[in-house]
């Protein structure tokens, strides 16, 4: 529609959302970056100004130096990435066969099964995490059932442990894994599997030679959709984890609201951002290289 014939309404359609995003998305990041280079002070706002009284640029890398040398923070970052990674893997292990099963169902069943995957997503995230508090409690449903069955005599502590966090993460993000996997598995032409078997592959070989490579875009998308939000998760470690379960989202929240150290919280956010951006960029590189390879 453009064709170089500039029209007022077209300019308007670009400018309004553009301005919105510049002010409410890009500007905040510039501010975070700025504050992360400041020193905390007890004042309002609680950080030193960017330009001091003598009109000199007052920036410090102290916050980043502190974060990168402090064992606790490093452990927390590491722990967040590891827990998100394990949760992603668990989602994949559970989600792949589910998506496969849904994609291979009859169209009527398929619609219903998909609806049942999507439905929890529309129900409040917070309430779904909350529901596990009732289940995992020392006097909760799971402990009661296990004791009634005679598997255990004493209630076992699940709530407020890392296991509870894993359950919460997998539970909350499973739909994000299943949907992209389903999308790529559903497109898969069943004739390809028949052809592979016709050419002498066993069903197992056909899966690894045909299904898995063709499902890979879905696997990558699903893993990113789970891993990224899980890394910065705040609610799940707060409600289900114990005091010792350190995840970076929670630390950032506390640093900001409890310790009121805005510059440090900003620095925490920036490092978290880098931690997430790097794998995305790498994957995109990999993906576009693969696309180029497929095209030529």
């Amino acid at each position: 529609m453009g064709q170089g014939r500039g029209m007022l309404w077209q300019w308007f359609a670009v400018a309004v959302p553009y301005a919105w995003l510049l002010v409410f998305f890009l500007a905040p990041f510039v501010i975070i970056l700025k504050i992360s280079l400041a020193d905390p002070v007890i004042a309002q706002p609680p950080f030193t100004p960017f330009i001091d009284d003598q009109n000199n640029l007052a920036v410090t890398l102290e916050n980043f130096r502190f974060l990168l040398s402090d064992r606790l923070y490093l452990l927390t970052y590491l722990n967040s990435v590891m827990m998100a990674g394990v949760a992603t893997l668990l989602c994949l292990l559970l989600g792949f066969p589910m998506a496969y099963g849904i994609a291979r169902s009859s169209p009527v069943q398929r619609n219903l099964l998909l609806l049942l995957v999507v439905l929890p997503f529309w129900i409040s995230f917070l309430l779904r995490v909350y529901a596990w508090m009732g289940l995992l409690n020392n006097h909760g449903v799971i402990n009661n059932v296990l004791m009634w069955l005679g598997v255990i005599d004493q209630p076992i502590q699940i709530l407020y442990t890392n296991i509870a966090i894993y359950i919460g993460l997998v539970y909350s993000y499973l739909p994000f894994m299943i949907l992209p996997l389903y999308a790529s598995l559903e497109r898969l032409d069943l004739d390809l599997l028949d052809a592979a078997q016709d050419l002498g592959a066993t069903p197992r070989q056909a899966f690894w030679d045909v299904t898995w490579p063709l499902a890979r875009p879905g696997v990558i998308a699903g893993c990113l959709l789970v891993f990224i939000p899980a890394t910065g998760e705040y609610v799940i470690p707060f409600l289900l984890g114990g005091p010792e379960s350190l995840m970076i989202g929670r630390v950032l929240f506390d640093e900001f609201f409890v310790n009121k150290d805005w510059p440090l919280a900003s620095a925490v956010a920036i490092i978290l951002l880098l931690l997430i951006v790097v794998p995305i960029v790498l994957l995109q590189r990999f993906q576009s290289a693969e696309d180029d390879g497929a095209r030529t």
């Binding site: 529609m1 029209m7 309404w9 077209q10 359609a13 670009v14 309004v16 959302p17 919105w20 510049l22 002010v23 409410f24 998305f25 905040p28 501010i31 504050i35 706002p45 559970l94 066969p97 589910m98 099963g101 291979r104 169902s105 009859s106 619609n111 099964l113 609806l115 049942l116 995957v117 439905l119 929890p120 129900i123 409040s124 995230f125 917070l126 309430l127 909350y130 529901a131 508090m133 009732g134 409690n137 006097h139 449903v141 539970y171 499973l174 028949d194 939000p229 910065g232 998760e233 609610v235 707060f238 409600l239 989202g249 950032l252 929240f253 900001f256 900003s266 956010a269 978290l272 997430i276």
Partner: protein
């Protein structure tokens, strides 16, 4: 082999769905528990529903959340549809790469970062211009619009990408000016995507806890914030009742939307 599910796949499906639904069912069951100790069964009762409906704090928070969600969904749909159109139809223009980056990043941005960055923006704006004077409805709504419009854009843009562009060209060929084409042809045809986008934005807004917690002020508490402050110390029976009501309403809504969209698909096969 392809039409029969293997026992392995069948058991994984059964386990997966049980995993997804047992917590929801258990919440509903316990919402009818008479005991104040939410985890011990004390007989059937609906008293918590009664108490919930008499709790002004909960009702106020719910009302605030709904107001925010409706406003967010409406603005996010308008802005997101504009952006979807711009990205799918306007070809290349200066600043397109930055725009694409800004509209896809909120989809992968951890909530704590979005929340923190927006709060710092509002604080800076307050320092510079004296606005926003208080944080509450307006700041939460602005924050929600910013991330919800990204989702609407994705939905609208993919619908436009799948739509035959010669429909719009045909309208122009028949004498219709470009702006009119948008209202005559494009919007009627992407209306389903805009409705999905609105519903998604509405749900995301209603659901959000972390970003709201950052950008709201002392007076304003959304429903998730209220729930969070109650459940951070453990399970409470009135939240069970509230959760049950929400689960029921959402399920009814989603199933109804599903049935309607299925009927629409049957009467209007997409090409």
């Amino acid at each position: 082999m392809n039409n029969k599910r293997s026992p392995f796949i069948f058991s994984v499906l059964a386990f997966g769905y049980a995993f997804l639904y047992i917590p929801l069912v258990s919440v509903i069951v316990y919402s009818f528990n008479d005991s104040r100790l939410a985890t011990v069964w004390g007989g059937f009762s609906t008293r918590w529903y009664g108490e919930l409906l008499r709790n002004d704090q909960v009702l106020d928070a719910a009302l605030l959340s709904l107001r925010i969600a409706v406003t967010t969904a409406t603005f996010a749909t308008i802005l997101g549809t504009m952006l979807g159109l711009v990205l799918a139809r306007f070809g290349n223009f200066r600043g397109r790469t930055l725009l694409t980056g800004m509209i896809t990043s909120p989809l992968v941005m951890p909530e704590v970062i979005t929340g923190l960055s927006l709060l710092l923006l509002f604080v800076s704006l307050h320092g510079l211009f004296g606005w926003p004077a208080t944080r509450g409805f307006s700041t939460i709504t602005i924050a929600h619009i910013t991330f919800a419009m990204a989702y609407v854009t994705v939905i609208v843009r993919s619908r436009l990408a799948a739509m035959d562009q010669s429909l719009e060209e045909a309208a122009m060929d028949l004498g219709c000016r470009p702006l009119r084409v948008v209202f005559d042809i494009t919007i009627p045809l992407i209306a389903p995507a805009m409705i999905s986008g609105w519903l998604l934005a509405f749900t995301l807004s209603l659901d959000d806890l972390v970003i709201s917690s950052f950008v709201s002020g002392p007076g304003a508490s959304t429903l998730p914030m209220l729930i969070f402050s109650k459940v951070r110390l453990g399970v409470t029976p009135d939240i069970n009742a509230l959760a049950s009501i929400i689960i029921l309403l959402v399920s009814l809504g989603v199933v109804a939307a599903w049935l309607v969209s299925r009927r629409m698909q049957k009467s209007l096969p997409s090409n």
